[in-house]
Symmetry: C2
Subunit: 243 residues, 2 copies
């Protein structure tokens, strides 16, 4: 059973403002929920139409009708379960060891989720984000991380201040950079990825110490630039392949 | 001005069945439309609220109200212009020179569009698709190619028959393949990419002559596999970087 008021609150969690007020977010589908349960996220309540979660105390499981799941889901096709989690205390910077990804105003939730999933695949433990970057607890971000959210430390901060004081080489992909395929890449570093429309902002560009570029192989020069998520895939692959 | 009947026909073009009947598809936004105009696509009619297209004959431009554009657009936020193009005669296999991408039942329009855009960036001239792969003239595919559709030859065929007779090395990313970073990759080849949920199908797997794998660098073994579009980015990058 689910009350009207619960439906209202869960729907409100689609907005950052209400996530902040309630300090809660939600995830959908067994796979993503299970990954979050296996990590340090604190479950508040689990709504499900049929799936069994043997490791969740029965007091936290609420079996509901499909019609009710539809009312609380953010998906076009609801996926059997929806779980409410507590938003943990703000993540802190954990490490300056290894590669850190810095996001300069990434706005698309799908891109953000894909980047977190890539970070997880390539063993990047930390992502620092400008405060304008899309919220990591946005339902679309949570879903597209496919559970990787549980394994990557995502920190929001003043990116300008961070880059000024981090004492690490700061890489950024820019059109006039060095060919990424011939550069010796240092894995103890920060890699900055820019906004979907505007790329890396002017003030952040000034803090980049190593300009790199992914060369275009197509002979037709009209080719649109790469999408930020696919560019991230190529950059992380290059940083990892020789290390 | 736009008639009710025109609106009905344009809306129907969101479905493959009606695109086939009318032999038409549509594209939205100046950038994508301009790219298609610059290539061999034949314009049927251009609907616009304000943009100027100096190279389009006035007889083909139909200035409409924003409210009407909203009625024909497939976008949440319509983008000033929508153009109807003729679907060209079925593309033929053009070349067995260089790298060919083979798509084995890619279903997500966004992934398909991103793969076409990547192909364009890396100079891949041809993509062969199983007949079950999402239609390249699906509006979401057209939009996410960002115009690259104009520069890559996309052919639908019986993938099984094609791979059996193509006389080229056939690469496929499989979990138990050779490390892609240490393999010598032959650029005169076919690379097969598999379905989002099921990967490369069993019958197609039998036709793969070179099994490759993108190694996981994260130490946590639970990491979800890579999304097919980001895997494509890494694979194409590897094929091109040393060639």
């Amino acid at each position: 059973m689910i009350s009207k008021n619960q439906i209202k609150i869960i729907n409100s969690l689609q907005q950052k403002k209400y996530r902040k007020i309630h300090q809660q977010f939600f995830a959908e589908g067994k796979k993503v929920i299970q990954e979050l349960l296996n990590s340090n996220f604190e479950l508040i309540e689990l709504f499900t139409t049929q799936e069994s979660f043997p490791n969740v105390p029965k007091s936290q499981i609420n079996t509901i009708f499909e019609a009710d799941l539809k009312k609380i889901s953010a998906l076009v096709t609801p996926n059997e379960s929806l779980a409410i989690f507590k938003i943990p205390n703000e993540n802190k910077l954990k490490t300056d060891n290894g590669l850190t990804i810095a996001l300069d105003d990434i706005r698309d939730p799908g891109n953000m989720g894909t980047i977190i999933r890539l970070a997880d695949w390539f063993g990047v433990l930390q992502i620092v984000c400008s405060n304008e970057t899309v919220d990591v607890y946005n339902p679309k971000v949570v879903q597209s991380t496919m559970g990787s959210l549980a394994r990557v430390n995502v920190v929001y901060l003043n990116l300008n201040d961070y880059l000024k004081t981090c004492n690490l080489p700061v890489y950024g992909t820019l059109l006039e950079g060095e060919n990424i395929y011939s550069e010796k890449l240092n894995r103890n570093a920060v890699v900055v990825l820019g906004n979907e429309s505007n790329g890396i902002s002017a003030t952040i560009q000034e803090l980049i110490t190593q300009k790199i570029t992914i060369p275009r192989f197509g002979t037709l020069q009209e080719t649109e630039s790469l999408n930020v998520a696919t560019a991230t895939a190529i950059v992380l692959s290059e940083f990892c392949r020789n290390n």
